[in-house]
């Protein structure tokens, strides 16, 4: 039965769903990259994703408009980002622990609202596949890369955009300066507070988008704790990808491809203990951290609150 895995249809299927499943990791981890490059570790991504997932699902179900759902997720994510920014930037709260607080908050509130407003598991008609003309007709390649829903395309488009903003624009320079040496940035007239507010809110917004991509594009349902740790992985992917959007994308694809493989193994009924297979990306992430941590340096001011010396 293992031979079934290697038929062309199955391989194409695995790769296509692997690309699709990378979507939430990409949104969340790219958003987190901005925060960390400015020196803020947002560990509340998971909670922001859950809130975004619920908001998108609920609004899409109520209005029948998927884009309104996306908008709701973005707004909810931004609001949670704003709260996180206030707590970590203005009140200098310990970032890791306050992130756990926001995780619990989002986990509880999304569950609460789900039970109160919906009660039962329902489904929406999520974003349909968009077949890109001509390209989607290429055998294999077409199905893998050019027959995905619009949120998948947007997620992958975000990677070069994030790279460009971080490395080629003044804004990116400010973000990196604030993350490396906030005191120096401050003395040059860059507002550390404003830059960090911006990156944390952006991170929250994209985490909300990541949630939306799960509830109204990938799975088309909302369930309590539906992200089941994906947001925490997204945080790790930023380290895995050495704070570069391209590295983050590589990590996201690693996780999503293994997940996809594991799903297909289950669908085909192949007797491989899939739990062990799914465990591997986590082990690999730890190993990658061990190997790269000496070579790649984290933003110097990461997790350090900024306080102007008076």
């Amino acid at each position: 039965m293992i031979g079934d895995l290697f038929s062309v249809t199955v391989l194409v299927g695995i790769l296509a769903s692997g690309i699709r499943l990378a979507t939430p990791y990409l949104y969340a981890a790219i958003g987190e990259t901005f925060g960390q490059r400015s020196g803020v570790l947002n560990l509340g991504v998971e909670g922001q994703m859950l809130m975004g997932a619920f908001a998108a699902f609920y609004v899409a179900l109520a209005t029948g408009n998927l884009w309104l759902g996306v908008l709701a997720a973005l707004l909810v994510g931004a609001l949670m980002g704003l709260a996180m920014a206030f707590v970590t930037v203005h009140l200098h709260a310990q970032q890791g622990i306050s992130g756990i607080g926001f995780y619990l908050f989002g986990l509880g509130l999304s569950d609460l609202l789900f039970q109160k407003l919906l009660g039962t598991v329902e489904t929406v008609n999520g974003f349909p596949k968009v077949h890109i003309p001509v390209l989607s007709d290429i055998p294999g390649i077409g199905e893998i890369f050019f027959s995905q829903n619009v949120l998948v395309y947007l997620a992958f488009a975000l990677v070069p955009i994030a790279w460009f903003v971080l490395n080629k624009t003044t804004l990116g320079l400010k973000i990196r300066a604030v993350g490396e040496n906030p005191d120096a940035a401050d003395s040059l007239g860059i507002s550390v507070v404003r830059v960090r507010y911006f990156t944390i809110i952006l991170g929250g917004t994209l985490a909300g988008m990541a949630g939306a991509s799960m509830s109204i594009a990938l799975l088309n349902v909302f369930q309590q704790n539906m992200t089941s740790g994906l947001g925490f992985i997204a945080v790790a992917l930023v380290y895995f990808g050495a704070w570069s959007p391209w590295g983050v994308m590589a990590g996201a694809l690693l996780f999503s491809m293994v997940n996809s493989l594991q799903l297909w193994i289950q669908v085909l009924g192949i007797p491989i203990p899939s739990d062990i297979a799914v465990m591997m990306p986590y082990v690999l992430t730890i190993l990658v951290l061990v190997v790269t941590v000496k070579r790649v340096r984290a933003p110097s001011a990461l997790t350090r609150p900024f306080e102007r010396e008076s």
Partner: protein, 383 residues
């Protein structure tokens, strides 16, 4: 310099009350949410209180819930005092539970109290391994412990699912198609003794006794002194001749060990088998996270963590009565827990400000800029 030794009682008391204010603020936000959900907040909180502490059975249930919270919280006290952040309580509980269960299912010919003792030790060791690995990675490879403990959580969940569906599966489930992930039941002789005609078991006494042990270790032994010294100022500790890396590993290892013990008590005191729904919280009841809340609320003090854990255990138990009376899902408690964490860590700024003012008042000249600030920021995770 004489003033340095003057204790500013008023501000000390204020500092001590900060978590209480934080909890009250969280309850206030909760009341607004209840009101928005068209439930009577007073009625809801009354039901919550009655469900948690209203009868002897309620109190017993609360203490059952408080047991793993307190054990995890003790570990968190050690870790955070050592300035390492352990978010791996869930995974450490799982591995501790697996180790203990394995002992209970293997040594079936041995006397009950021997097996129980060995199983608790096995849980302790399992958690120590699962916490020790991130400790080693942090100390010797500079891998961020927040990330590694989170990764270790996921690895533990998949390992648990693998074991409970495979090598350790309940033989009666193995034949069924449903294959509920659970082990066989422990022998009756291996159960942690009940303390009253309720579900209350010996675990709570073990946890409370250990709270005193942790207090003594942290404040009355060299080991504890060094863990705290490294947590407060690793550079000074290094100059003082403390092997900093060793104590970073120890802090995480011990932290994990207590969470592992929490997992063992769940198996031997509550379920009498290892069972899950495939998620971490299916086994742990999210105690690995809620223990952090309790420890923060108890100001990272082992003894204050006792009432804190009972309070949060009570919230978890009372939430079900609240759900019945005012039809607001018990998930509200998770929201409140999150708010308590956010509010407690946010309120630290006032404590630090007062501390700085005390320092400034204590020295005739202004403290050199930076020196004191940096010190205070570095302790944020801890004290």
């Amino acid at each position: 310099m004489k003033k340095l030794f003057r204790t500013d009682w008023a501000s000390r008391i204020l500092d001590g009350l900060l978590p209480v204010f934080a909890a009250l603020a969280a309850l206030l936000v909760g009341a607004v949410m209840l009101w928005l959900l068209k439930a009577d907040p007073i009625q809801a909180y009354q039901a919550l209180w009655a469900g948690a502490f209203g009868s002897s059975n309620a109190i017993a249930e609360t203490l059952v819930k408080a047991t793993p919270l307190l054990l995890v919280a003790l570990g968190i006290c050690i870790a955070f005092r050592g300035d390492v952040i352990n978010i791996g309580g869930e995974g450490q509980m799982i591995i501790g539970g697996l180790f203990a269960t394995w002992v209970g299912l293997t040594l079936t010919d041995w006397p009950g109290w021997v097996v129980i003792t060995l199983a608790m030790l096995a849980g302790f060791v399992g958690g120590a391994i699962w916490g020790g690995i991130p400790g080693l990675l942090k100390a010797y490879f500079n891998v961020n412990e927040i990330l590694s403990t989170v990764m270790m959580n996921s690895i533990a969940v998949y390992f648990m699912n693998f074991m409970l569906r495979g090598p350790m599966i309940d033989p009666s489930q193995a034949e069924l198609a449903s294959k509920i992930p659970q082990t066989a039941r422990l022998l009756d002789a291996f159960r942690l003794p009940r303390l009253a005609p309720t579900r209350l078991h010996l675990g709570i006494l073990i946890a409370v006794a250990l709270a005193f042990v942790v207090y003594i270790v942290l404040w009355r032994t060299t080991l504890g002194f060094r863990i705290r010294a490294v947590g407060q100022n690793p550079h000074a500790s290094r100059y003082g001749g403390i092997k900093v890396k060793r104590y970073v590993v120890l802090a995480l290892l011990l932290s994990g060990a207590f969470a592992g013990l929490a997992g063992a008590t769940q198996v031997f005191g509550v379920n009498y088998r290892m069972i899950s729904d495939g998620s971490a919280s299916g086994f742990t009841g999210a105690a690995g996270f809620n223990g952090i809340v309790a420890a923060l609320f108890g100001q990272l003090h082992p003894l204050l963590s006792i009432p804190a854990s009972i309070l949060f255990g009570g919230l978890l138990v009372g939430a079900n009565s609240m759900q019945r009376v005012v039809q607001v899902p018990a998930a509200l408690i998770t929201v409140l827990n999150g708010l308590v964490v956010v509010f407690v860590v946010s309120s630290e700024i006032w404590r630090r400000r007062r501390q700085r003012r005390r320092l400034a008042a204590a020295t005739d000249t202004e403290a050199p800029p930076g020196a004191s600030n940096k010190r205070l920021d570095a302790t944020e995770a801890g004290a």
